[in-house]
């Protein structure tokens, strides 16, 4: 019987089965996508003359990286950078401390339902609003300065870290936690012995990652007046001082690289 099948198939072409089974849907999807791309391209009006003029400036900027100017505005750069670092450190500490209880509350397997809903709500709000929009609102409320930036970063840290921490707790090994509960531990003891050891390595790793993100974000908060290196950078661009801008960007990249390296070491140690 199988040989009849074979005879039927011999001499016939073979095509790879398509990813989308329905031929009509497949065509609709690809035609739709191409149509969207064309529409999108057509609605971007590019002033090519302006772009062409800009190429010189772009090249000047690339060249500026070979001779960055750290010196002439070092005072501004230093104070901006210090403010960024200070905001990062303070906001990371406060954000991490607050996100631990909220993370515990947002884990369905250890928190009662009302607490869970409240904590998940906080997480959702924090994640839906970008840092820069929060910063604009907080600057409007608290005035210019690093306080607004500090509060923004803390708020963003809470959303990020609580969510991932909660997911980690929900995915933990139940048996270990049950064993601690079986020994008659109180709630706090149970968290300390049954839950904490399981989620600690990941919490440390995520915290390091968040410090890294906080520093990167702190570099733009200055654009809306919330303190940090962003204001200095913006001024440098406005004055077309590309060598100063290049110096600032090199410093940012260097610090981010150092942070990543450090977090790599710390993560390897806690695991």
């Amino acid at each position: 019987m199988s040989h009849r099948e074979l005879d039927d198939m011999l001499g016939k072409g073979w095509r790879k089965p398509a990813f989308v089974k329905n031929a009509w849907l497949r065509w609709a999807l690809s035609v739709g996508f191409v149509a969207y791309l064309i529409a999108a391209f057509l609605t971007i009006d590019v002033d090519w003359g302006r772009v062409y003029e800009g190429l010189d400036r772009g090249w000047a900027f690339v060249l500026a990286f070979t001779s960055p100017d750290f010196i002439s505005r070092w005072g501004d750069i230093w104070s901006g950078l210090l403010e960024s670092i200070v905001m990062t450190v303070a906001a990371s500490v406060v954000g991490i401390l607050i996100s631990i209880p909220i993370g515990l509350g947002a884990a369905r397997n250890i928190a009662p339902l009302p607490v869970y809903i409240v904590c998940r709500g906080i997480v959702a709000i924090s994640r839906a609003l970008q840092e820069i929009i929060v910063a604009i609102l907080l600057v409007a409320i608290f005035g210019f300065g690093p306080l607004a930036g500090f509060l923004t970063l803390s708020f963003a840290t809470i959303g990020f870290l609580s969510k991932l921490l909660a997911e980690d707790i929900e995915a933990m090994d139940k048996v270990q936690a049950e064993a601690i509960k079986a020994s008659g531990a109180r709630w706090m003891q149970w968290i300390n012995y049954g839950v904490q050891p399981q989620v600690m390595p990941r919490l440390v790793g995520l915290s390091m990652y968040r410090i890294d993100i906080n520093f990167r974000e702190s570099a733009i908060l200055g654009l809306v007046g919330a303190g940090g290196i962003g204001a200095t950078l913006n001024t440098a661009f406005d004055r077309y001082e590309y060598d100063t801008a290049a110096a600032i960007l090199i410093l940012i990249i260097g610090i981010v690289m150092a942070l990543e390296y450090l977090s790599g070491i710390i993560r390897a140690r806690v695991q």
Binding site: Y36, D45, V46, Q130, I133, P146, E260
Partner: protein, 271 residues
């Protein structure tokens, strides 16, 4: 796990005296750094504004509600632009990220000594700098508009996508590559049959994930003049038209939620 002997009794402690001292000192140092940071923030804060904050917040809230619903008719084009910035930016970034990732992955790079460090440098430098800063830079070079936004998003996403992709390439199953090589396949055939099918799911996941992030980022690019709905936000903020601001914020929230939903659906379908 040191066990001390004192008065013929064995005392179990978690750490030796030296270890506890180091830990205690570490915590002290951490607290000192935090206090110092907090002082710096508080020095550059006008506390009068902060004490006044509840009143101002309340004031803004009463001005911002209800949102000016009929303003939505003017938001159609900005929303379309925002979508295009995110989508086209993601597509360009993916096209550029693929070769960078192959050059950066240990098992596919042509030269671990020269080319790999360059690829890694591209990844880290594009990744460390926020898209708003890229937008600032591009506006200085090629002028304000949607085009600058697309390029800013594209550059920022290269590093992100290439990093995740090269990690996926490094994790592929080598025996499948070996099997294809053993058939006498050429270098490019080994790539197309042995490597690409293995990383395709990761690639699709990364693309959708980054698209979701880019929708968020492109909503605020307008703050610095790079097109999209952020332009309206910034214009409304400048004239303190709070009912318009609140409407735009609602639109951004909805857009972010939709993109998150879409990306979750697509990722679910792929995996």
């Amino acid at each position: 796990m040191p066990v001390l002997e004192r008065d013929d009794a064995h005392i179990w402690r978690r750490r030796t005296t030296g270890q506890s001292l180091v830990r205690w000192f570490g915590w002290l140092l951490g607290v000192a750094v935090f206090v110092y940071c907090w002082q710096l923030i508080s020095e550059s804060t006008t506390w009068f504004f902060v004490w006044d904050a509840p009143r101002i917040a309340n004031d803004i809230w009463t001005r911002a509600t209800p949102p000016k619903w009929d303003y939505i008719t003017q938001l159609g084009r900005p929303i379309w632009d925002t979508l295009n910035i995110a989508t086209l930016g993601t597509i360009i970034a993916l096209i550029l990220a693929v070769p960078v990732a192959f050059l950066a992955a240990r098992n596919t790079t042509p030269s671990a000594l020269f080319i790999r460090p360059i690829a890694l440098l591209v990844i880290v430098s594009t990744r460390s700098i926020n898209s708003l800063i890229w937008a600032l830079l591009l506006i200085a070079i090629i002028g304000p508009g949607v085009f600058a936004g697309v390029i800013a998003i594209a550059i920022r996403s290269i590093g992100f996508c290439a990093k995740l992709l090269y990690e996926a390439i490094e994790e592929i199953d080598h025996s499948q590559v070996e099997a294809i090589t053993a058939t006498g396949a050429s270098r490019w055939q080994v790539m197309a049959y042995g490597i690409v099918p293995q990383i395709l799911p990761a690639f699709a996941g990364i693309a959708v994930f980054r698209w979701d992030i880019n929708i968020r980022e492109s909503t605020v690019l307008g703050l610095v003049g790079a097109g999209g709905i952020g332009l309206q936000l910034s214009a409304s903020l400048n004239v303190l038209a709070w009912p318009q601001v609140s409407l735009i914020l609602i639109v951004i929230l909805v857009a972010v939620m939709i993109s998150e939903w879409v990306s979750a659906k697509v990722r679910g379908a792929i995996i």
